[in-house]
Symmetry: C2
Subunit: 662 residues, 2 copies
């Protein structure tokens, strides 16, 4: 390799000389050193089509393990594919169970108070949160492929569901239909998730960008925390706004400052919030004490409930839970709206909530899978999530998904498999069967404190700063989603996030980058002269690199952009009394594909240049491009001898002609 | 240049040897030949932002001629920018006028019968077609920048407008409101066009791909031709379906075969259609006779009108035009719906019709501008089109745009400037003032024959075949639009065309291509081994090229795709007892940009590889990428000494390490 560079040090002059190029050409011992651009072997149309379908929908090659297997083995593999528990269950042992038991108990202690609080965000009675932590985790445990995710209700989805449902039915005046619509939405959330998975359309959730999610989550966290001010300050529900934007909420809070706040509630809430934050700090400082913040919520609930029970603070205006239905999930299949107006509404809400729930679950699954280096099958996960929500909707659950905070605790507590979800589920079952009456005296302020301390983690300053540093456009998407959520509503924030993400994609395909290339001294490498200021232009030649596939959405822009760059360059050259440009080399390495509009644009570019006595030269067109250039005969039009393997070869073939004419 | 290749012929072995690579490395005279990847100079945030805005909305740099000019000159330039006639009018002379006069007269003779026919497609009285060929061309002549386009009503937009309006109001039972809605739609079509131009959003029309337009136009042509069977066969309107799909129309045609057809009408229609087709054939065979097909329609109208007048064929059931309002356009500003239900409907129809009209006009403008090598300013064109339709809607015109057939005749007749439109407009004015009563006896069958012979040109078999050859996906879009139009309706066809175009963009950004690279013998060039089967892999190294910017929409796919390629490769190597892969080189030349999700994907890829004792090496990241790699500290994580200018340098730095371990 080294010889390549050492041998052409004679070219190491800042301003390249066309003559030296041409003389170096004659150094070749008459051998052909210009390499032909390869035309890839023709593929059968059907094969090409199948390849596209495969890359789009089956990019993970799900049938690979089935290849070359006997039929019975295929059946077993098929069952294992649907129920991964059959696969990992065979290697399950006591040591793994110890990890799962501890982590399961830990997340159970965290989920019980959270569930009660989150169901309030969805405007549902507290038991529905617990129900949703009983059935869905069991389903997930047999069907899911993540080992670390903790399933159950989560704050953001609860808030979103509560907002969307409240838009249709008021939960205070018509709680029965509200509940039925919640089950309907959950059912369709499950259907949406499962359908995406079965149709292998999982890539659709990739359209919500990381930056938009960071902003959306941060905004939702603040909205949720603000909602908790009601319980935290002891403001009566009738005095509190039903809107979620920061201005309405602050108005409610300060509007009721004179008579609506309850100091006993505030004292209880504030002291336990302090306790929770200290616990969190301890857990953060020393990873060994991860269990401190994990059990702190349950400890707070027990302590505060006992305290209220002793002091009868509820008579001083401290709001308490009062009543949680005892017993496990009643069936709810007959409550789902399968006909009527609410069917369409439930469907719409379900699609939105299902997509968001899925985005969160897949993000969590991928994060922890990357940490432990195992693969998550996105489409399979979606089927598992969908099934669990469909079954959930028939057993009085609302939309469940993977929880960020509980999954992290699960991971740190040393979970090994999805058995930790089963353990958690059993604990929730026991709670529902035996302990719920004990929650009667739990003050709402404690639940508010627990939710606040949980959602604070969703505000990811570090990520926002990193986004700002890396990509300003992403930051706009992030802030758009954030401010949309806190100043307007969750749906609007979501809409902004999706719109900005799409706008970015459209911008990318309509306005691709182009670069003028120069030769890096003492190499045969041509690079962007903005990135490498030492790169020098070749006299009489302009080299442009097009940085995108050329499609109908950008073909006109690219053509006009190249002509504009050419006009600029000629103007400069004229001002400096330098020779005119005679060759336009288009470096096509990044042009991975071209369509009919792109071919037309190239043809028009060629004709425009011809009229100006310039030559169009192409360097390194890729397989798809060279194929289509030949199919459309544009390769002949431009001249096959004007298509080169590298920019260096294109330049060396242009330069002698320049010299002859000079 | 030649020396580069001749000096490393010692490497010309089919299977590369890691030892030879490493030995060639030691040939370097201790000089650093590994070039650093340039980090582009930091741009100010504001400047970067302004650059993006400029490239998106002002990519054509419209203010460029204004630079360094005195104020008075700027005013003149500004006026000339809005009214290009002020610019080209100064050089106007008699010889140009001769060309414009001849071409103007020719397109006038073509447009008069077409206008009368097209207004029927829009379910409007015949004079509205003529009105639309009087005012809009005048406005365009002072504001437009194309020299060849012929303005007036066109078949496809007339059909589209007729279909969309008929969906809202039935033109037979409520012709007054129908007409008012037509003006309202025209008004908003103009507003849409002008707004797109002023906001410089012209790139939006690029989202309708060439292939989709070909299919849509072909389908519309067939639909229009089928509609003409009514007039051509003399079927009464009450016996004819109002739907436009081929099945309903054929049902109507054959359902009325027994009693509904009129043989006199068929004889007249068929003989003149033959005449028109022969004229067309003559014009095609010899370009000198372009005027034969151009005046044939007018000749047919005169002859057939005279014939019917003499023979009183209208008494034999031959349908005639009967009445065309005499006189020029009455004002219609008071007829536009500015309030009420129809406002929103008119707006919706106007947006769709305006966009389609614009797409057609811009395509025509670009085609002829490319032929004569002048520039069309897309955004300025849109403002001109918009103004002309806004003024048109106030003077009893319906949506006008550039006509394919008449523009081609205009070009061939030797038009020089937009003055040919003025000439045509004057002829139409004279027709409206003096000649319309003479059209009373013109048989409808002649108009049908003229329309059929005109729209047949819109069916572009050659283009469809070329699309099939070049890009199969484009062909699907083309056929989708085509069959959508002929089997369902114009709107559905349009919807299909737009959806498939969008799906293609989404597919492009979600599933980018990747390629495994190999070294092309006796060069230092690494290329796709599928395109260049002679390229050889480097033992212990896998080189992957990612062929797209890495964004949130594809970052996960790219990461997983690379890991899958790696797994495939390792499996093969294992089967062949070859050394394992130790270095994964990602060639990033085509990766023009990366966002936060992409950075995370790279980070995860790096960690995954680390766990497998492999090294991630990057080759030639572009300016945006290297900038973000540094901003996010991922460059440090991977190691700055693992980022190279070229694949060759990356390989040569990996190989000695391979040898040491071997």
């Amino acid at each position: 390799m080294a010889s390549v560079h050492s041998s052409n040090e004679d070219l190491d002059t800042k301003e390249m000389d066309a003559r030296s190029l041409s003389s170096s050409r004659h150094n070749s011992q008459g051998e052909p050193y210009i390499h032909k651009v390869g035309v890839p072997p023709k593929q059968k149309l059907f094969k090409e089509f199948m390849n596209t379908v495969k890359e789009t929908f089956f990019s993970d090659d799900p049938l690979r393990p089935f290849k070359h297997q006997p039929k019975s083995r295929k059946l077993v593999l098929g069952m294992q594919a649907i129920f991964p528990i059959l696969e990992w269950g065979r290697d399950y042992n006591l040591s793994k169970f110890r990890g799962d038991l501890i982590s399961g108990l830990t997340i159970a202690s965290l989920c019980i108070p959270q569930d009660i609080g989150y169901s309030k965000l969805a405007n549902l009675a507290p038991q529905y949160g617990l129900y949703s932590s009983f059935v869905p985790p069991l389903i997930y445990a047999v069907m899911g492929s993540s080992r670390d995710i903790a399933i159950g209700p989560v704050a953001v989805v609860s808030l979103l569901l509560g907002t969307l449902l409240q838009n249709e039915i008021d939960h205070t005046t018509n709680p029965e239909d509200y509940l039925r619509l919640a089950f309907t939405a959950t059912f369709f959330a499950g259907i949406t998730q499962a359908t995406l998975g079965i149709l292998r359309m999982g890539f659709l959730i990739d359209f919500l960008s990381h930056a938009a999610i960071v902003g959306f989550m941060g905004g939702a966290a603040i909205t949720i925390a603000l909602q908790q001010l009601k319980g935290f300050l002891g403001i009566a529900t009738k005095n509190f706004t039903k809107k979620t934007d920061v201005i309405s909420v602050m108005h409610s809070v300060f509007g009721s400052a004179h008579n609506g706040w309850n100091w006993q509630t505030i004292v209880i809430g504030a002291s336990f919030l302090t306790f929770l934050m200290v616990a969190k700090y301890i857990g953060k400082k020393n990873k060994k004490f991860f269990w401190v913040p994990a059990i702190a919520p349950l400890v707070s609930v027990i302590l505060s409930t006992f305290f209220v029970y002793i002091t009868h603070a509820e008579k001083q205006g401290v709001e308490i839970v009062r009543h949680i239905e005892k017993g496990i999930n009643p069936p709810s299949i007959n409550q789902i709206f399968f006909t009527g107006d609410y069917l369409a509404k439930g469907f719409k809400i379900g699609v939105v909530a299902g997509m968001i729930a899925l985005t969160e679950a897949i993000a969590i699954g991928r994060t922890f899978a990357a940490m432990k280096d195992y693969q998550i099958d996105g489409n399979k996960e979606m089927v598992a999530m969908g099934t669990m929500n469909i079954v959930g909707s028939m057993t009085s659950c609302y939309v469940a998904t993977g929880s960020f905070s509980r999954s992290a605790v699960n991971y740190m507590a040393g979970c090994q498999t999805a058995v930790s979800n089963i353990v958690m589920s059993i604990v929730v079952f026991l709670t529902l069967e035996f302990i719920t009456p004990l929650f009667k005296y739990t003050p709402n302020a404690i639940l508010a404190a627990i939710i606040i301390s949980a959602v604070i983690n969703l505000i990811d300053f570090q990520a926002a700063i990193l986004i700002w540093k890396i990509d300003k456009f992403d930051f706009v998407a992030c802030m758009g989603a954030f401010f949309g959520v806190i100043f307007v509503s969750v749906e609007i924030g979501l809409l902004i996030a999706v719109s900005i993400s799409f706008a970015k994609i459209l911008l990318q395909v309509t306005r691709p980058r182009t670069a003028i290339l120069g030769k890096i001294p003492s190499t045969t490498v041509y690079r962007n002269i903005q990135q490498y200021p030492e790169a020098t232009k070749v006299p009489g030649v302009m080299i442009v690199r097009v940085d995108s596939a050329i499609y109908f959405s950008n073909s006109n822009y690219i053509k006009e952009r190249i002509l504009r760059l050419l006009a600029d360059e000629e103007e400069q050259l004229k001002a400096a009394y330098r020779p005119n440009i005679q060759f336009l080399i288009v470096e096509m390495s990044p042009v991975t594909d071209i369509d009919t509009s792109g071919i037309h644009a190239l043809e028009e570019l060629h004709r425009s240049l011809q009229k100006r006595d310039m030559q169009l030269v192409l360097a390194n067109p890729g397989p798809a491009v060279i194929d289509k250039l030949h199919a459309s005969h544009v390769a002949n039009l431009i001249g096959e001898d004007r298509i080169f393997l590298t920019v260096a070869e294109a330049v060396s073939s242009c330069s002698p002609k320049l010299v002859e004419e000079a």
